[in-house]
Subunit: 150 residues, 4 copies
Amino acid sequence: MTTSFDGALCDGGHRMQVRVFYEDTDFSSAVYHASYLRFMERGRTNFLRLLGTDQRGLFEDVKGEETGFAFVVRSMQIDFYKPAFMDDVLDIITNPKDVRGASITLLQQCKRGDVLLVEARVRVAFVAGGKPQRLPRFLRTAMQGGSDHH
Amino acid sequence: MTTSFDGALCDGGHRMQVRVFYEDTDFSSAVYHASYLRFMERGRTNFLRLLGTDQRGLFEDVKGEETGFAFVVRSMQIDFYKPAFMDDVLDIITNPKDVRGASITLLQQCKRGDVLLVEARVRVAFVAGGKPQRLPRFLRTAMQGGSDHH
Amino acid sequence: MTTSFDGALCDGGHRMQVRVFYEDTDFSSAVYHASYLRFMERGRTNFLRLLGTDQRGLFEDVKGEETGFAFVVRSMQIDFYKPAFMDDVLDIITNPKDVRGASITLLQQCKRGDVLLVEARVRVAFVAGGKPQRLPRFLRTAMQGGSDHH
Amino acid sequence: MTTSFDGALCDGGHRMQVRVFYEDTDFSSAVYHASYLRFMERGRTNFLRLLGTDQRGLFEDVKGEETGFAFVVRSMQIDFYKPAFMDDVLDIITNPKDVRGASITLLQQCKRGDVLLVEARVRVAFVAGGKPQRLPRFLRTAMQGGSDHH
């Protein structure tokens, strides 16, 4: 199988694949529940990367000038429907649902083929110096194109 | 500081302390968001342990006789209010909120002193062979004593 | 960038790329030292996968019939030369060095471009029911082709 | 069981207990090999803490004044003798073995009761701005008291 390393933008959102390794499982033989949050964070980071946002660069600005920016997760609503297992290849699908001035709500899904395993609504805020900031216009525009709310 | 290794039962719920180590943080300098799920799972596991439930034993029964039991997280609603940092000592507080036949909803809080950092409602189901099962009576009784719903 | 999802066999060994995400870093701003072990395990698992070995299948045989097999790490000698950082793309390179009847020693490297960051010698044994077993001939032959020892 | 939260100094070294939780295991049913590195890092951090060293404070100095200090792992030699399992209580024992000007070699053991599961020699360096630095005298003196090399 060949796939784009960082996934791909599609339908206003992002789609990537992850492989389940030993590190993601627990002794129940299925994937550990918090591992899905790691998979979904990879999806969000790659989505932002493909939209032109460099999180490490944003953060280094924060440290250097005290005026830089970072994304933080404010809340998540997660449903765990079915388990994933070692060696599975999962699709991590990320779509903007509600784009506001200082936060974005993303709908994220983990699927194995057509089967929905885990679904989450994730509200991400954009902060500097611990305070909420307006999202950069280019990001808001890019995400609003894919959201229900524009 | 001396503390009980597995935390303690109190007010119908459970309370334990965790220390934040390198492994729990990320390059933002704060605790990685999925690490709180690991802390809360430790709280749930120790709560069940102090109520007399041995999860490894339950699970081994499952594998051996196909009639054993396991707990699985069905859904979580998490709010991340404030960050924790390296070396912090956090209180992980777990209280049953809604005890039903085959699932329990727990309210879990991560606090640093009096400051609430993270709060989650976690619905845990009791399954065998992938199917929901009634909770053992002794657990339901123990947890109903501490819940709002009895 | 496009790359093969599971990496590729090359020069008798295996090569794959991993992206550094939040989950891999710690508050020092670099990659957490144990994260390199996760990267190297992904390399070993994909190497075995491309050689035709299905670790989940092997393990399920173990549970079912008590005659199946699993790979376990017996020892590692690791040098951490330079740090990796958020967003880095690393090459994980795995080469068999010493293929014996019941164990394999692999040389694994994590590089960023031409820069060697971490290097490990990893001895992996092949066990069933907790006891060392002879490696399947097809694996031994495949790995001896790439090792110094044939 | 009651135990000191950060473990205790003893015989020139440090000893603490850790509980094995879901997060530490993998689908093989045993503890994931890289989890032992997390346990051993907790031991090192608590050892330094009880000797009076505040790693977060050291690191914040680094960021603020470019003259602060941090500890980094340079190399590890690890033997994995026997597996640990869910719910196990492990002793993590840390002893200085070789204390030099700019680095310390620690012998770390993970035991379950009298049974040695994992043993590692870990060389830790003391750096500032990426360059090796002499260890603070108070630490060198404290650790030499417990090492073979004084």
